[in-house]
Structure formats: C-alpha cells, structure tokens
Amino acid sequence: MDRRDLLKTMGAAAGAALVSGGLKAEQGEAATAQSLGTAEPVAILVDTTKCIGCRTCEWACAEAHREAGVEFPEDADFSVVRTTSDKQWTVVNRYETEKGIVYAKKQCMHCLQPACATACLTRAMRKTPEGPVTWTEDRCMGCRFCMVSCPFDMPKFEYHSAVPRIQKCVMCSERLAEGKQPACVENCPAGALTFGPRSALLEQARQRIYAEPDTYVHQVYGEDEVGGTGWLYLASVPFQQLGFRTDLGTTPFPTYTREFLYAVPVVLTVVPPLLLALSRASRARAAAQAEEHEEEGNP
C-alpha cells in the first residue's frame, strides 16, 4: 500500500515534469540558428543621417500589407511623435536634436532572442531561422503577454475587433520567401535602408563610422541591445535623442525568465516526495501519540 501511494505521487510529479520539460530546446532555437552559421539571419540597417522623412516606407508597408489591415495615414503630422499601431507597422518620426532635425523610422526590432516569442504560450509569435519574428493567426489566443514582455512595445492589438489580431512588422517574411527585399527597403528613395545578412550589415555600419567618424556617433544601435536585434541603426546624435530606449541592457530578455523556468522541473520532482515523507512522519507521530493515549485508557 505504501508503494501505491508513492507511485501516485511520483506519477503526478513525472506528468508535471513532462509538461514543463523541453524548455531548453525551445530557448536554444533562436540562438543555434545563427551560431551554427548554417542560416545567417537577415537584417536591415537604417542610416538615420540619410533619412529625409518622406514616409515612402510607411506607404510601401501599407501597400504590401493592406490585407493584413495596414493603412497609410495621408495626414500624419510630424509635430507629434507617433507610435506604431494596430493599423501601422512602421512610422517615421521627426526629432529636434543637437544637430538639427533628424528623422527615424521605427518598427519591430526583430530581436535575435525575442521576448515576445519566449512569452508566447502557443508559439504564435516565433523567431524564424531566417531572421523575421512572425505571428501566426491560427495559434494566437489573444492573451497579449507578448505586448507585456516586449521591451520595445511593438506588438499591437486590435481592441476594436471581435476577431482581433496582433499587429507588427514581420520584416516582409512572405516577400523574403519569394526572394524579394522588404517593401520598405525596396522603396526607400534616400538609400537610408539596407537589407542583407546581419554580420555583413554590421561590418558595413562600422565601415561608415570609420569613414566618417565626425558624422556618426560611434555606436550601432541594435548590435548589442537586448542581445542584438534584426534592425540596426546608425545616427549622428546619441540615440536617446531619437526616442530610443538606451536603458534596456545587452542581456537577451529570455534570460530573465530562464532561471525561474529551470527551477520548475526541479520543484516538480523534488517537492512531492518531500511532502510525502513529511506527511508520513507527522502521521507516524500522531499514531504514536494516539497509542499512548489509549494505554492511559483515554481513547
């Protein structure tokens, strides 16, 4: 009878351990794709010194993703700093800086190890080995944990739809599959956007800094931020002047929950037997006490 009890507990623990297992495999996925060097992820380099604020990228994005619900606002106003929305995957903003007016395009950063994909419990949000972070409608249950977790606040939610979707830049993953470039890159008239393998773009970015050390601040935003992103930025002024968060650190965001998740299988396998042992011990004590009482003629 002891064995049956034990088996029950162990069975429960093993079942739960299965549930929590496999997290290693998932978390490693994004990292291995590049570290193996088999599929170099693609990236986009934004040179904000070349951006003229024409918003052609916004228009091209809307053209390419009209069916997904992206729109081009004709009457956008540069006097307010806009954010991406459930109807706009990318926005160009104008910033007054120490070096005059600078324009900067914003969209999903396509992190190398994205918080949103780690947060997603249905794998609707996913880091593809090619580079883009994509969203699959069939899987998403609309919990919005990706929005809570994203350090750049990029996933947006359709609050006014009965069948809401998560909206964000997907780096034109469907166009990439056809061998094309992202719509914004292809249509940029100023040459501010460059598409290519991430490592090549990083070298190009450094080359530009070395060639014109007085034009650029000596930093590529996205090289190390949150463990590296798929969008890289060059600028003539410190990045906080362009509305970038510079306090995010260089640790990949999945790291912050890793320790907790690693503790899960340990707790699930170690705690139940301990509890069982504790319960046995206290029961034995209670039985001994009851016996004593009986001997005293005190049932």
Binding site: L23, E26, F145, Y256, T257
Partner: protein, 422 residues
C-alpha cells in the same frame, strides 16, 4: 436469464429515476428567492451579460480602457493575479492538515478547498473574458503549439491541473451529498496524492504569476520590480490566503449559521487565532524579504516621490501594521482585532498586485490606464456568480460540517484511514 436481466434493468431504471428526482429537487433554490442580495447581485450579473455581449461582438475596446500601452488591466491585475493570491488559503491549509498533521484545522479544510476551487474556476475563468481569441485557449493544451519557454504556459497548465487537484480534494463531499459510499472511499483515497500535487503546483504558479513580470523589468516601477517578484508573490500568497480564510470564515459563519457543524462551531475561534499567528509569521518573513530587496535595489532614492509614499503605505500601513495586529489579536485572543488585521492584509495584497500589474506598470506613460466602470461591473458580476455557486454548494453538500445523506463520522479520520488502506 431474461427475467434476471429484466429485473436488473428495472432496478437500474428506478435508481436513475430516483437520482433524477433528487437532482431536480436539489437544483431548486432553498429559501426565499427575492432577497436584497439576490436582487442586487442578479441585476449586476444581468448588466454584465449585456456588457459581455457587446465585448464579444465589438472587441475588448468596446467596454474596457485597455490600450496598446496597457495590454493588461483590471481583469488580469485584480481578477486573476489578486484572485489567485486570495485563493492561496487552500494549499496552505491542506499543507498544514494533510502534511503536517495539524488536525485542529481540519474542520475548515473543506470550505477552504471549495473556496479555492471556485476562485480558480471563476477568476481564472475570467481570463477567458480578457483573451482576445478565447476560442483558441485550448492551443497550449493540445499539441503542435506548446510554447514551453513561456511562463504563461506554465501558469495556464498549472491553473488547469490545480483546478483538477482541488476538485479531487473536494470530491468526497460531493460523493457524500449523493450518498455514494464506495465512490467516496475511492475518492478519499486520492486525497493525499491530490494534496501533494496541488501544493507543488501552487508553489510554482503563485510564484509564476510574479514571474510573468520578469520580462517587463523596464516597465514596472523600480519600487515594485525586482528579480525576487516570484518569491515575494509566493510568500505573500500564504498570508493573503490565510487572511481570506479568516475573512470568509467570519461571513460564512454568519450567513450559513444553520449549516455549521458542531465540530467547526466549537473550534472556530481557536482556528482563527491559530491562523492569525501563522499569517503574522509569514508576514514577517515577507517584510524581511522586502527589506532585503529594498536595500539591494537601493530603492530609498524613490521614497521622496508620490509613488514612494504609496509604497510606504503598502508596506507599513498594510503589511507591518496588520502583522502587528495579528500578533496582538493572537496574544489577547481578540477576534475583532484579528478580523481587522485580515481586512487590512487583504487590502495590502490588492494594492501590491495592482501596483505591480497596473498602477506601477508604465508609470512613465503619458496616458495612464484607469479601468472603466464596465470592467469593474463585470468583475463584480464574476464575484456574484461565484457567491451564488458557493451558496448553492454549501446549502447542499457537507461543507461546513452538517451531515447529510451519508452518515459521516469524522471525515478527517475516515479520509486518513482511506489513504492508509489504499
């Protein structure tokens, strides 16, 4: 041969008819229908039904103030995150009774487990209202889309498994109500396994709710964010749960006086005093942890701000003060002081969970989130619905100790004997 099977069939038929009659009888409300409580809570639920129809037809934005900056609002912050902390009493009490063998607390185990079970069903159930695409909620359960790297995946699975564990823990009461002796024996034999599994799950998902915010580290105000959120959530769920047990017990004792059994009636005051002492202990551990986090995070620089005062109110006014009151109430066996302490503690937990999830979340945002009256209305309706079900169960099943149907001789002993015999 045929005669035997015919008579057997007749017997089964008669038994089924009897069962049907019993269920029909039990489904009917007992007592007056048009009481003030029923009228008010019924109206609240009707309004919520209309609001929810609008919500499902036109999206979350139609009745909530959620925004791109605030993806989680009152429904998550209060219903789910606070509600689950309040339901922590079940795992704490089952630990004390079944693992530590503190039989003194046995008379309140059933009502606490029932409360915990219903809290999970309704407050975790309220999560469905908040999901944008609730028809996909089974995705993390069925294959092909296991997001195992997600803390929310863990929380979702644990909610589901824990609900089952709590139902198993409560199920002997259902069997007694139905008069199913042998089923009851079997179910009672499962209790210890369910308790052990349930406690383990609780440790993980109570802390898991805090771990949800680990990746929101740059969004939660530094007075409330720390790497220790999971542990702080876990430790605070202990005294949150116990305070809820004290608070609920006070009300339940008044409202369901006729259902309270002799055993519970005799020991109720002793139980409350004992719980107060344990809650105070957990609160001092919590305060010490908070102090460590405060020093470690160099939080004193924020104390001069408005949110600093808010933080002090939470820590001093709604943790340290009720902890002291619990001790005073325990020493002087003063139930009134203990109840006051329990209410203050519960307020402190509401504040803490909302500070992490709503008030201190994106404290820098230009447009702050404030819940709409409709979000609060729906929350009230969820609570009202839970109370209706709770009342229905307490008035029929042996929850507070009154024997019905099956004759019960000390469920505790019998349950334990069942476990030993299994």
């Amino acid at each position: 041969m045929t005669a035997v099977s015919q008579s057997r069939r007749a017997l089964v038929g008669a038994e089924l008819r009897r069962f049907g009659k019993f269920m029909l009888h039990e489904l009917k409300p007992k007592g007056r229908v048009l009481t003030p409580f029923n009228v008010i809570s019924g109206a609240i639920m009707l309004v919520a039904a209309v609001l929810l129809a609008i919500r499902f037809a036109r999206g979350l934005g139609a009745i909530t103030n959620l925004s791109q900056d605030y993806p989680w609002g009152f429904w998550i912050g209060f219903d789910v995150i606070t509600g689950v902390a309040f339901a922590g009493g079940a795992y704490v009490l089952t630990f004390m009774v079944y693992i530590l063998g503190q039989e003194k607390y046995h008379p309140i185990v059933r009502v606490t487990v029932l409360n915990g079970f219903l809290a999970y069903v309704f407050y975790a159930g309220a999560l469905l209202l908040d999901l944008g695409r609730p028809w996909r909620v089974i995705n993390p359960i069925i294959g092909n889309s296991f997001g195992v790297s997600s803390v929310l995946f863990l929380v979702a699975w644990h909610f589901m498994l824990y609900m089952m564990a709590e139902f198993v823990e409560f199920s002997p009461a259902v069997a007694e109500w139905l008069g199913w002796r042998r089923v009851r024996r079997f179910l009672a034999g499962l209790t210890l396994g369910a308790v052990i599994f349930g406690i383990t799950l609780s440790l993980l998902h109570q802390s898991g709710l805090g771990a949800l915010y680990l990746m929101a580290r740059d969004k939660v105000h530094p007075l409330w964010y720390s790497e220790f959120i999971p542990i702080l959530f876990l430790v605070s769920s202990i005294f949150a749960g116990l305070s809820m047990v004290i608070f609920e017990g006070t009300i339940t004792h008044k409202v369901f006086r006729h259902r309270v059994g002799a055993a519970l009636h005799a020991s109720h005051d002793d139980i409350v005093v004992g719980l107060a002492r344990i809650a105070a202990g957990a609160m001092f551990v919590y305060l010490f942890l908070q102090l460590l986090v405060f020093v470690h995070g160099q939080r004193w620089v924020y104390l001069g701000t408005g949110l600093g005062a808010w933080y002090l109110l939470e820590m001093v006014g709604l943790v340290a003060l009720p902890a002291a009151l619990f001790i005073q109430g325990y020493r002087g066996r003063d139930l009134r002081v203990i109840r006051t302490a329990a209410v203050l503690t519960l307020l402190g937990i509401v504040l803490n969970r909302l500070n992490v999830s709503v008030i201190g979340f994106k404290w820098y945002a230009p447009v702050r989130y404030v819940p709409s009256w409709m979000e609060i209305e729906v929350t009230l309706a969820v609570i009202a619905a839970e109370l209706w079900v709770f009342r229905w169960v307490v008035n029929r099943m042996p929850v507070l100790g009154t024997a019905v149907g099956l004759v019960r001789d000390q469920p505790s002993r019998e349950a334990r004997a069942g476990v030993l015999a299994a």
